[in-house]
């Protein structure tokens, strides 16, 4: 894999929640996205995945930490200075029903990034570009002047993808792009994303709570828990040989459609996720972790390399035992 395209260094974002209280949405997260890869970002609802995704394209400003695009620190640039990076970093939204302006037709929707970046000189050129993009994402050119509500969820998501592509980006953050769609359509969209990645050399940061979808599409994967990363590594390493106890619980939660796989061995977590307003001290997972001791309660673990780019934030990683999940 080639160079680092996007890097987060110790990003932290907190949102005010009532008087003096804060939601610790993202705490001290460091992350590298390499050129041309798909990096999956997995975690349960409310763990800060989407916030991290928005921080990574600077749609939100971090409270502390730094964001680097191709090695340039863009954390403190003004909106105007950031404009030339803006084009490179695009976002595909989760809800294709809310992310398209109902008052614009397909042509204007897809043309918006082209107009903003002054890509086309004439109206005809613009129309041609829009039609080419529509073809790339599989929307028939006949629908040029239709409005978003006339399309199905999958088609709308394709329009959203075309809009992201129109900016000619390096990296696209896919924020749960298929979770609002039904399964056959999910597949079509995932395959479309893969195809586009191949033909355009795109890099994806793929956010999802669906472990099988992430496994299907990602090269590397990050597991997130309550605003922090617990584990990062190549998909097969993380899925088959989880190092962090939380990751193993996640993998146990995958249901396998195989009657022989039914075992009593499956361990599932009990209790609730701790609140992000008042996160536990030390390791954020210690309240639910069977292996936790005093050190975990006192001291937040650092990301350490278990070998081969497989990083874990745990004082007592599970080691190279055979995976609990095939």
């Amino acid at each position: 894999m080639s160079g680092v395209l996007l890097e987060a260094r110790n990003l932290t974002k907190e949102f005010p929640a009532g008087r003096k209280k804060k939601v610790h949405a993202v705490s001290d997260v460091s992350l590298q996205v390499f050129q041309g890869e798909t990096l999956g970002l997995v975690g349960e609802s409310g763990c800060g995945k989407s916030t991290l995704g928005r921080l990574m394209i600077r749609l939100l400003r971090p409270d502390s930490g730094a964001l680097l695009v191709g090695g340039d620190d863009v954390t403190h640039l003004s909106e105007k200075e950031f404009r030339k990076y803006r084009r490179q970093l695009q976002l595909i939204f989760q809800d294709p029903y809310a992310s398209l302006d109902p008052r614009l037709n397909v042509r204007d929707l897809i043309a918006e990034p082209l107009r903003t970046n002054h890509t086309c000189r004439t109206k005809e050129e613009l129309t041609q570009r829009v039609l080419a993009l529509m073809e790339d994402v599989g929307i028939p050119g006949e629908y040029l002047y239709r409005y978003p509500h006339q399309f199905s969820g999958g088609q709308r998501q394709r329009i959203g993808i075309a809009r992201a592509l129109a900016a000619d980006p390096e990296l696209i953050v896919c924020d749960e792009p298929v979770s609002a769609l039904d399964v056959p359509v999910q597949n079509q969209i995932l395959n479309l994303l893969k195809k586009l990645q191949k033909s355009r050399g795109l890099t994806y940061l793929f956010i999802s709570h669906d472990l099988s979808v992430v496994r299907h599409i990602s090269d590397r994967v990050c597991i997130m828990f309550l605003g922090t990363l617990c584990e990062t590594g190549r998909v097969d390493d993380v899925y088959q040989n989880p190092q962090h106890p939380y990751t193993r619980y996640l993998m146990n939660a995958i249901l396998v459609p195989d009657p022989h796989h039914r075992t009593d061995r499956i361990e599932l977590l009990s209790g609730e996720i701790p609140s992000a307003v008042d996160p536990p001290s030390g390791c954020r997972f210690h309240t639910r972790c069977p292996y936790a001791d005093d050190r975990c309660r006192r001291e937040a673990p650092k990301m350490t390399d278990a070998g081969d780019g497989h990083l874990t934030a745990c004082h007592y990683p599970l080691g190279n035992r055979p995976g609990d999940h095939s």
């Binding site: 084009r87 302006d101 002047y145 978003p148 006339q150």
Partner: protein, 331 residues
């Protein structure tokens, strides 16, 4: 393959449109058959890719789908024509008194009767529509433009800009509007233009409030966030995403503000600050008939009905426009 086809269709369609003018010239040279053929093909292409929305396609849909709105537009047009051609439509003068014929009931000589000074009410109604239509529409448009612009700026930028604009709006809203209007007219002096300004200055604040509230809701939507990801400028987000999505509200506000402006003008006239007698405005006429309501009801009734008609017409037209402009209604 699909795209090649659609691209070809678009190219042909654009050529067709360019040739449309030439085609019309050609058909006068006797090649009507070719012209018809071209027209048919154009129709076919249009069916294939649909067409972009223009003012004319909107109007065509309005005519096709909402007869009531079209009828209302016709009523408004009729009133406008009556106002313009008032001197040609009536033999009477709007100001000369005829004390022998005070408070005549409607008859063939005076279709709507006469008022306390013996003036023909139809004549005064026609002349009065000049003032009333203008005071209904012009200041409303002024206040809507100003209010919408300030409202969307306040709502989208927030911070100090928001605070300044909205505190000024609060001050305007805190005064009884009649009192404020009187003060402004006193300062500016009477005259139609000053009345326009006065009404606009009194009404912009409520428009700004409503548009700001809507902007606050809309700016949190994902499509505005999406526009920000793309790098669309703030001005463009305001004009292209926020204001168009406020449009239904603005149209409803317009249909509510037109009658209220007509009525405010009549109140000002009643207090001697608006149109000066013997000139006529509908509001003034309603007030003049007040004392004779029992023995000569037509003096007040006729201008009241005129106000009601124009208000209804604006309401129906507004409804029709809102439906036509709503993308969800499109087929």
């Amino acid at each position: 393959m699909v795209s090649d086809r659609s691209r070809k269709i678009v190219r042909e369609y654009e050529e067709q449109q360019k040739n449309a003018v030439a085609g019309m010239n050609a058909s006068s040279d006797g090649s009507a058959l070719a012209g018809k053929d071209a027209k048919e093909r154009e129709e076919e292409l249009k069916r294939e890719i649909g067409e972009a929305e223009t003012f004319f396609t909107l109007m065509r849909r309005l005519v096709r789908e909402n007869k009531l709105a079209v009828f209302s537009a016709a009523v408004i047009l009729l009133f406008i024509l009556a106002a313009v051609f008032a001197p040609l439509l009536t033999p009477y003068s709007f100001s000369d008194m005829d004390l022998m014929n005070r408070l005549c009931a409607p008859s063939s000589a005076h279709l709507f009767g006469t008022d306390a000074a013996g003036r023909d009410i139809l004549t005064r109604l026609l002349y009065g529509s000049r003032v009333s239509l203008l005071t209904g529409v012009v200041p409303t448009i002024m206040s809507m433009l100003g209010g919408a612009l300030l409202g969307v700026i306040a709502g989208y930028l927030q911070g100090i800009v928001d605070a300044v604009i909205m505190r000024i709006a609060d001050v305007v809203l805190a005064f009884p509007s009649m009192l404020l209007a009187m003060v402004i007219v006193y300062m500016l002096g009477d005259g139609l233009v000053n009345i326009f300004l006065t009404l606009a200055l009194v009404n912009w604040a409520s428009v700004a409030r409503i548009v700001r509230a809507q902007t606050l809701a809309l700016k949190e939507t994902e499509y505005v966030e999406a526009a920000r990801v793309i790098g669309v400028s703030r001005t463009r987000i305001m004009f292209r995403h926020l204001l168009p999505n406020c449009l239904p509200t603005l149209i409803v506000l317009f249909t509510l503000n037109v009658p209220s402006a007509i009525l405010t003008e009549s109140s000002l006239s009643f207090l001697g600050l608006g149109v000066q007698p013997p000139n006529a405005s509908w509001g003034l006429m309603v007030n003049e008939g007040r004392q004779y309501l029992y023995n000569a009801p037509w003096v007040s009734l006729v201008p009241s009905i005129a106000i009601m008609l124009i208000v209804l017409a604006f309401n129906f037209l507004g409804d029709g426009l809102r439906d036509v402009l709503d993308p969800y209604q499109k087929k």
